[in-house]
Amino acid sequence: MAACNKGKQHFWLGVSLLVILAGAMASIALFNGTSLRLDIQQRLQGPSPGHLFGTDALGRDIFSCLLFGTLVSLAIALLAVLISVVSGSLLGFAAAWQGGLVNTCIMRGADFILAFPGILLSLALMAFWGPGISNLILALVFSGWASYARLVRGEVLKIKDREFIQAARGFNASVRHIAVNHIAPLLFPLLLTQAVMGIAGVILLESSLSFLGLGLDPRLPSLGQMIDAGRGHIFVKPALILLPGGCLVILIAAFLFLADGIGTCAGSGHFAKSS
């Protein structure tokens, strides 16, 4: 239980980081308004009442870019992880349940993906496909599904011959019923931990790709793109790097803490006791 207390601390630390970030952004947005308008005459201005953090090299309000970039990073990470978890779980379940050729095909595919670092795969895909939001999500899912598939397959193999599953089969329950009502609740804590950790990883991956110009459309402000654009003005205005960098670190740290908290407590919760 002591481990869980520490986990709880980490969980609430993660939550409060996210709440503080969201609260700060929402309050500034409420009082100052946001606009992504280009105003080239106002480029690289210092902080002023109109632009709380000043303006970037294209004369855009830095705070508005930060807000937009953070939301975009978050949305892409959530979407990519959601698709990865769903497709990875289904494939992993199919591999464990069916066995045989299905298992071989799916798991060798996963082995292949996991044999390479995620960024290399996504980078190669984006290099051929070119930047863009749907390409980016596809590339992230392509490198992301395999770890969930492996996790789900391993767990399903462990429980598929247990008595309660055999009982359900004895009652002629459908595969879908067993998967949804008997297996999914047991896997949920593990998958949740892995997925929250995955969000941190995907935010990192997405920002690295955007930083290299291979993520979103380079004209849209995203955190990685802002840091990349700030490199040209590193001597004049380091804030162009420090502000989006700070947002990025807070986001990633928040999700890592959340995952740590959920993981520690899920291991000592009532799920573990029942098994």
Binding site: F112, A115, P117, L120, A127, S208, V249, I252
Partner: protein
């Protein structure tokens, strides 16, 4: 035992072949005409026809694929579209720099991670523990490209001690190697700590303590041998982070390695170069992993005698 090597070698070849095929089909999956995509905006019909012929894109897909495999096996990766020089030559020119950077970063990260992790494991509930766990949490949450830029702001812009970017003397190597080393050692510290802390709970350590051995001797004579396998596995896994890290870090510091080569090729839409560099990276990464897998029996006699898998 021989079966172990055989399995690893077969997996290596199959993965490499899959990676090659994937890269081949990716070029063909470029939306629209790949040649038009390569030539950029408004190419002339003559240019399109010439490039199509020279890349053999007017041939049937199966023939192109066979040609691609044959050429790749003979280490012929085609010519760059930008300067018409062989891709393999460019890779060989740039690759040594990547090796220098990656190698110095690896050494540096071991030098950072081992002392931190060992102090934390041996002196539990001390400030070392907090320091090393704080360091590794910091490193895990900090993207390497951001860390690189922060180090530039600190050492080059504020203190004016080191050059911002480029290559030349050893002073150009310090910042990129340090950046990579810090992001690597974050994970390494945590893993070495967990492994060593786990070994410290084993009965043989209790016995060694009872014999009156010092912590230093316990570590070098007893723990290190047992902890080496998990640590080697992690270092092997870290090679992936190292390789992908170099892509980003080289780009920040304009270090002339294959990461810079790849990103430049992407910006110039130089597809033969992208194809060649990604294939080479995949090859090199798989090769390193194969070597690491094959080294386990040498490191741990229990695996050598088939008692532990």
């Amino acid at each position: 035992m021989n079966f172990f090597y055989l399995k690893k070698a077969v997996a290596f070849i199959v993965f490499l072949w899959t990676a090659g095929s994937m890269i081949f089909f990716l070029v063909h999956a470029i939306p629209g005409d790949p040649v038009v995509a390569m030539l950029g905006k408004m190419p002339s019909a003559e240019d399109v026809r010439r490039l199509t012929r020279s890349l053999k894109l007017d041939r049937p897909l199966a023939e192109q694929y066979a040609h691609f495999i044959k050429k790749t096996i003979t280490m012929d990766l085609g010519e760059s579209l930008v300067d018409r020089k062989p891709v393999a030559d460019a890779i060989m020119n740039y690759f040594p720099n990547t090796v220098i950077l990656a190698f110095s970063a690896m050494i540096l990260s071991l030098l950072i991670a081992f002392p931190l992790a060992l102090m934390a494991a041996f002196k539990k509930n001390s400030c070392w523990n907090i320091l090393s766990m704080g360091f590794s949490a910091f490193g895990l949450a900090m993207p390497s490209f951001l860390l690189g830029l922060l180090l530039i702001i600190l050492f080059s812009v504020q203190l004016k001690l080191l050059p911002v970017s480029g290559s030349g003397g050893p002073e150009f190597l310090i910042l990129p190697a340090l950046t990579l080393a810090i992001s690597l050692s974050a994970f390494l510290t945590r893993t070495i700590y967990t492994t060593v802390a786990n070994e410290l709970r084993q009965p043989y350590v209790l016995l060694a303590r009872a014999k009156g051995l010092s912590d230093v001797r316990i570590f070098f004579q007893h723990i290190l041998k047992n902890a080496l396998i998990p640590i080697t596995i992690i270092i092997g896994l870290q090679l992936g982070a190292l390789l992908s890290g170099t892509i980003v870090i080289e780009n920040i510091f304009s270090w002339p390695g294959i990461g810079t080569l790849l990103i430049t090729a992407v910006r110039q839409r130089d597809f033969p170069m992208i194809q060649g560099v990604t294939l080479f990276m995949a090859f090199f990464y798989l090769l390193l992993n194969l070597l690491i897998d094959m080294s386990y029996p040498f490191i741990d006699p229990r695996i050598r005698h088939g008692r532990l898998q």
